[in-house]
Amino acid sequence: MGAYRHFPIFMITIPLVGAVLLPFLGYLRQKWVPWAAAIPLVSSTILGSLLMGRMPAGGYLSYHMGNWDPPFGIEIRVDYVGLFLMLIVCGIALLALFFSRLYIFKEVSGGRLTAYYVLFLLLSGAMLGFVATGDIFNLFVFMEILALSSYALVAIAGNRNAVRAAFKYLLMGAPSSIIVLLAIGFLYSATGTLNMADLSARVAESGYTEVLMVAFILFVIGFGVKAALFPLHMWLPDAHSIAPSPISAILSGLLVEVSAFAVLRITFSVFTAGATNLVGGTLDAVSVFAAAAVLYGGIMAILQKDLKMMIAYSTISHVGYIFLGITAFTAEGVAGAMYHMLDHGLAKACLFLCAGSFIYVKGYRRIEDLKGAWRQMPWTCFAFALASISVIGIPPTAGFISKWYLVYGNFSRDRWPYALILLLGSILAAVYCLRVIYYMFFQPGKEGAWETVSKDAPSSMLAPIWILSAGTLFFGLFSSLLIPSLLRAAKFLL
């Protein structure tokens, strides 16, 4: 591997250090801050892509921090799936960053600009570290960076609603972090180690099954809040709809996925490697909640009048998809969940950025105001339509592929009621997405609603939107690039 083994640590630390250096630049030349903020993310993306080419198929890259061997030092463990997710994080964060450059003046006053970009970089770096780490306490530390920066980013607009939404988020998020910490304590008390690979071996032979079982439940609750799994989702609609749109895109498109990925890792690389019986009951309960999430999120999304609120509820529904895939406990289900993380990330980020684009051009947030938007903002509307198609799961978008694997994964373990619920969820998605598309394309606009708009959003905002929506199409058409390796990885996990 040579120098390549250092790449993951640089992917993580460069955004963090960039965030620390950014205030100097903000002090000297505030104009350059948006461009400078892109540099760390671009370099992380480049490093990740280079590493992707060198990644051994089916293997993983283990990096021993400070040359200490794993149970003693901290390990970074990047496998194919993790690296893949890290690249998604880099890519989507980068696009949202470019989108922010013009958009952010709409929602954030000038004095807070530097802080916005600093927090943005911290959030991205923390997500990368969160995905890459192989140590369970380190997972907690990165989760805290991620949580703190996201609370602050939700509040950054500084108005009444933003602060309230952020506080609501914090009041649910902070206890959940403490619960995770407690779970780590339980796990440590029963095994005496914090390294995930070591844990999976020791969990299997540990005699303290009750402790481990409750630790798993606490992990699911703790990460479930961050991932907005159904009964713990209350913070999400407010936070995601009130945050500035690029941040909504990150929260909905990445943060939720990353938290679900944490559950996936805890489930498969820590607990079930040797002791499936420990987690079976919990996972059954989780799948019930996930099924409820699919339906609840879908129905609530249909009832919304605010566009971003609708997209946020749709996220709750899709978190249910991901969890149903994870709990299906089949290679297809897990691969489907992973692929859904990708396509949901792309599609949701695209939808939120489109919503941001409407806010930027016209200040419209309500779905009804979008009637006839197509005439004036065709590019935004087309991208929105494409991403919605992926959210519904209509071929040839990536949403279809992941839906196929999720349904099939649930089918093949005789969990067909969940398969039906997934399908019902996609009907609900069709209802709420097609309604917006219908308003945009086939309804005449209200008198004077769009007259002052002569052109679409600026191209620096359209480019990220289009890259994302083209991504959903690309990963739908060329899903054969990833699906076999994901299936292999999922089989390896099981």
Partner: protein, 502 residues
């Protein structure tokens, strides 16, 4: 599979050609309306030409195949042009070309959107026709479902919106059911979604209940498009609301995509033997019989011409289903051939209705007194097709009825003949009044002094409107007389059916 299977890009080429129209529309400046639309027509003409190129090979028993994308073993996007798929592609591309020509003159607003989605739909439907397995078929079928929505609501009236809404509700639910059945098929069928001549599934693979589930979910999924009776709700609303070329395609091709799906399921997925063992063909036949009779009765009560035609389509598509459900040689022959026959007849009828609407603005049958004198060519073509629908020889309708009758005798169930005769009578009852009103009634005919209007030839409408109508009407007769000409339905369908029922 058949004797020779060769790699070929022709199917892909045929599928991609309509996209030329799309590119043209996006690229050309706003002012060049004529040029743009003619290029669109050329796109569909080229697609038809490319499809035609494959004809000799198909008649030789060749199969063309090309792999588009592969996910994992068994789940791949692949085109394989077998005789049955080619047969569907041929009529589809032909009717589409005529409808595009017709639309150039017919569509007067938002033509960009209309032509773009016409092209998209044609491409997706060709994808359906060429699909080598259920996965591919399902993907193109779903895309076609959503691609045809803008065609239905093109007029953007309240009526059209409501019809479009209804269409979407039916289509989305059907798509979901279909998704379920494809997954179930994949799971129980051992990961084999391909179409094979004698079917893929067997009782060894899964339990009876599982196979029944797969069959009935397929039936419900495709039945919405094929307008089998309890699932037909969107059809009578969508046809009158859509512009006439779109209605012609809806009933000529898009309904057939559903019927084609059922044909594929019965012959290529389940296979005749398994159908007999499961006994589900009875359900299929009963549903088809009910649809045939009830739809015809509903058609009687409609005054709106296109609505009456729509109900007629519902009944006629069920002829195909009935023919397939007989599970006999002649029945299958008649049913599958009716796919083309009905496309020709109903395409022509809807295009005629379009001309009437454009030239006189009349939608209802009761208003059409004496219209045959104003629009003689149109109404002659209309009458020819209407007579064909009743089964009058020499026409394609007669061929269908004859073969279906044979098939029912072969199956030993003469009750089907009763159904067919009833249907023919009802067809006569709802078509003859139109002809009567058009030619033998005129304004003021009940008074003494009423003058019979003068026949005016040659001035009735734009050639782009009339030519497709005439071509179709002529074909209705010609195909009904020279049945065995190579390239006509019999030559292709008999190849398929002779394999299945040796």
């Amino acid at each position: 599979m058949p004797e020779k299977s060769t790699f070929s890009v022709i199917p892909l080429l045929a599928m991609l050609l309509p996209w030329i129209s799309l590119v043209v529309i996006l690229a050309m400046p706003k002012k060049s309306r004529r040029l743009r639309l003619w290029l669109c027509f050329l796109g569909s003409l080229a697609a038809f030409g490319v499809v035609l190129v494959m004809l000799p090979g198909i008649l030789d028993g060749n199969t063309y195949t090309i792999k588009l994308a592969g996910l994992v073993e068994g789940l791949e996007m692949r085109f394989t042009v077998d005789t049955l798929g080619y047969y569907f592609a041929l009529i589809l591309a032909f009717l589409w070309m005529l409808a595009t020509l017709y639309s150039i003159s017919y569509i007067d607003h938002k033509e960009n959107r209309f032509f773009a989605f016409m092209a998209l739909c044609e491409s997706f439907l060709l994808g359906c026709a060429f699909a080598a397995n259920m996965f591919t078929y399902f993907i193109f079928y779903e895309m076609m479902t959503f691609g045809s929505y803008p065609l239905i609501i093109h007029e953007e009236t309240t009526l059209a919106r409501r019809a479009g809404y209804k269409y979407l509700v039916y289509a989305v639910s059907a798509g979901t059911v279909l998704f379920f059945s494809v997954v179930a098929h994949y799971f129980w069928g051992g990961g084999n979604l391909g179409f094979q001549e004698y079917g893929v599934l067997s009782l060894e693979m899964a339990s009876r209940a599982a196979l029944m589930t797969i069959f009935f979910t397929y039936l419900a999924g495709f039945g919405v498009k094929a307008a089998i009776m309890p699932l037909h709700g969107w059809v009578p609303d969508a046809h009158p609301a859509a512009p006439s070329p779109a209605s012609a395609l809806l009933s000529g091709v898009i309904l057939k995509a559903g019927a084609f799906g059922i044909i594929r399921v019965v012959f290529n997925v389940f296979g005749v033997d398994l159908m007999r063992e499961l006994g589900v063909f009875i359900v299929l036949a009963v549903l088809a019989c009910i649809t045939i009779v009830v739809a015809s009765i509903f058609a009687l009560t409609q005054d709106n011409l296109k609505r009456r035609l729509a109900y007629s389509s519902i009944g006629q598509v069920s002829y195909i289903i009935l023919g397939v459900a007989m599970l006999t040689h002649d029945g299958a022959l008649g049913g599958v051939m009716h796919l083309t026959h009905h496309a020709l007849m109903k395409g022509c009828l809807f295009l005629c209705a379009g001309i009437i609407l454009v030239k006189t603005g009349k939608k209802n049958i009761s208003e059409m007194k004496g219209i045959g004198y104003k629009l003689p060519i149109t109404m002659i073509c209309f009458s020819a097709c209407a007579l064909a629908m009743m089964g009058t020889p020499p026409s394609v309708g007669f061929i269908t009825k004859w073969l279906l009758g044979n098939g029912s005798l072969e199956a030993g169930l003469p009750v089907y003949i009763v159904i067919l005769l009833t249907s023919a009578l009802l067809n006569a009852a709802y078509f003859l009044p139109i002809i009567y009103i058009a030619f033998f009634r005129w304004d003021g005919d009940e008074e003494e002094k009423g003058h019979r209007p003068k026949l005016v030839f040659g001035k009735e409408a734009d050639h782009k409107l009339v030519v497709p109508v005439v071509i179709l009407a002529v074909l209705v007769v010609i195909v009904g007389i020279w049945v065995t000409v190579p390239g006509f339905p019999y030559s292709l369908v008999s190849r398929v059916v002779n394999v299945i029922f040796p």
